[in-house]
Symmetry: C2
């Protein structure tokens, strides 16, 4: 199993700081993983990523299987070489696409058949092929194939999906063991807890998974449309169900406040498209709340987006300049806003980790949350649209 050491614990919450050792480096947790779905963090060159210095980044098996395809990816030297990124990489298995591409897939007890969103071609992913693909990509952390459902799925559907997810996880674990024995791979495999909104279903799913030697455990099936309070309650209830001595990963979450809450619940890893996708729609995350840079009120504002931010965008560009570039649809705008947002999320997690180590996580969290609320303005209220 991948070595994982919990080095510090917050005295007032379940927050912990840890170090997860992977083939491409140590991941210091808690950590946020920038999303590089199709082989790049959108708009971010590999050397820019060096400077942002994420502990680990994420890519997506489903998207990479369609394009460039597994054989081609191997011929090009694997996923690290494709992305130009020498650090740790985790790949999602395609399970999320069971949810996000619900109209383009068919699930049975043995796996998932997708109709490509690119050309309509048919692609089969089963628990073994999902592991095989990730092994051949050369990832540091592979995820088992799971069945991710919408938040309002009916109990029988949820139960069936949780059952499949456990069965698939065990099939994936067996395959991963075979590939490791062959010496083809030194990465880790994470299992995924499903079970919808039902704590009992979450509990039995977790129990069934916990007795097997997975390298880590994820909470799946959240951030799929539920209100924020329900997300927070779910994380508080479901995170402790996962083994305490292994890394815990909350998939697809979330807003800064969601991350801070989840860290306090004992979550170690996060991924979310929010910083990157928001950048492409002109939304900036800052220490004083969110800014919609396209708002006319920023047009003549020569201040940096976030006066407390040390990112190169804030060092070099005014709000007015960023609005101009956004309105003019300049590709540079995507780069500048993405770099800022990623820096915000990565700095937030670095700050959380430092605070845990210093034994003052609760104070850190309160301070960040108050500052983000204090200057509530049009932009922040516009954020209610989320």
């Amino acid at each position: 199993m991948l070595p994982f050491a919990i080095t510090n614990r917050d005295p007032e919450s379940a927050a912990r700081a840890g170090e997860l050792t992977t083939p491409h480096g140590v991941v210091r947790t808690p950590a946020f993983m920038p999303v590089g779905t199709a082989g790049t963090v959108k708009g971010v060159a590999a050397w820019e990523l060096d400077r942002l210095a994420p502990e680990i980044i994420l890519a997506n098996t489903y998207h990479l299987l369609l394009r460039p395809g597994i054989e081609r990816l191997e011929r090009l030297g694997g996923l690290h070489r494709l992305m130009g990124w020498p650090g740790p990489i985790l790949t999602d298995s395609g399970g999320y696409q069971v949810h996000s591409l619900a109209t383009r897939r068919r699930v049975d007890d043995d796996g998932v058949t997708f109709q490509s969103h690119l050309d309509g071609s048919s692609h089969r992913i089963d628990p073994e092929s999902a592991v095989d693909a990730q092994v051949r990509f050369g990832v540091d952390i592979a995820m088992v194939l799971d069945e991710c459902l919408p938040f309002d799925a009916e109990p029988p559907v949820v139960e069936r999906a949780a059952g499949r997810t456990v069965a698939w996880a065990l099939r994936g674990l067996r395959r991963a063991g075979e590939r490791r024995q062959g010496g083809a791979w030194g990465g880790g495999l994470f299992a995924i807890q499903q079970g919808g909104a039902d704590p009992a279903a979450r509990g039995s799913c977790s129990e069934a998974l916990a007795e097997h030697p997975f390298d880590g455990f994820a909470v799946g099936g959240l951030a799929v449309g539920e209100p924020q309070q329900q997300l927070h309650d779910s994380v508080a209830a479901f995170a402790p169900l996962l083994p305490a001595d292994r890394p815990r990963y909350l998939m697809g979450v979330g807003y800064p406040e969601d991350l801070l809450h989840a860290v306090a619940c004992g979550i170690d890893l996060f991924d979310c498209v929010l910083p990157t996708r928001s950048a492409r729609t002109g939304k900036l995350f800052t220490s004083r709340g969110e800014l919609n840079i396209k708002n006319a009120r920023h047009a003549d504002d020569d201040r940096p987006p976030d006066p407390e931010c040390a990112c190169p965008t804030c060092a070099r560009y005014s709000r007015g300049a960023l609005r101009h570039l956004y309105v003019a649809r300049e590709a540079t705008s995507v780069v500048l806003l993405t770099v800022h947002n990623l820096n915000f999320f990565l700095s937030l997690m670095r700050g959380a980790r430092e605070a845990i180590i210093a034994g003052r996580y609760s104070r850190f969290r309160t301070r960040v949350e108050l500052a983000r609320k204090a200057e509530a303005d049009e932009d922040v209220s516009a954020d209610a649209e989320r």
Copy 2:
């Protein structure tokens, strides 16, 4: 006038190395100016530009007047602050849009009226307002308003345009003098030679301009559709007509071979959208000729785009990876290809300058041109489409 020292001369051609001192720094020539039309080099963050280290960059008065507009640009701290770029900036006056937006403008003896390509609104630029705008932008080098024609314009049209261009240049010079006296501006003003394909018209235009204290002189009205041989013959014939002791700027040119030829004719400054625009259509300039990265034959190629290139794209990405990102329409692709192409053009001019200083420019030029022809392949022949 802006200080300009010619420090070295090539013994075998008219090539020269020089230093032009501007308010934001010294421009070592020959130099290529990356194009940042609307306030950014497309896809390139200011800190990325730092690393590429152009001597000077270019922006466009017409585009900036429309958006963000001159008052807003002033409120945002001027053009250097808008672009996040502390080095020298030259702006084109809008004269090129007389050519490129021919269906959206009306020229009279007093100036040009444009119908905005953004919202159809009417904008008037005359010789004085063109200078005023550039002074208010805070540029290091302003260009006079000129009338740029297509290559096949009829002689009477060419003659009238050349006459206007001279009259407008002198009006611009007067206005620039007033603004300098008021202490509002420390930049330089360049005049533009027009005259179509006719050496006599070029000569009389140059003569009329040369006796006035412009900071530099440009060859305008080339690279507007003529064949490459005619471009080269024109540069050879028209460049020597400009004063030898002032910087000479060949506007809108061109391919690497065009630059090397023009340097040998005594040109000091260049600008062209080729490296940036080509990047957006998947074309890479390399020491072995051009590559169309979208070609299927690159799909499985794990070599860097240019084995002799020291740019970060070549250091981190394979041809196959770049093709994948281009085909997947990832914004990162624009960044990676633009950085490579700009580095190629900037390195080419740095190499030319070093060769002139070392007294071996002709050998340098021959070596570069032979290497670019030697590996002629599908991609290079596809380049005939240019």
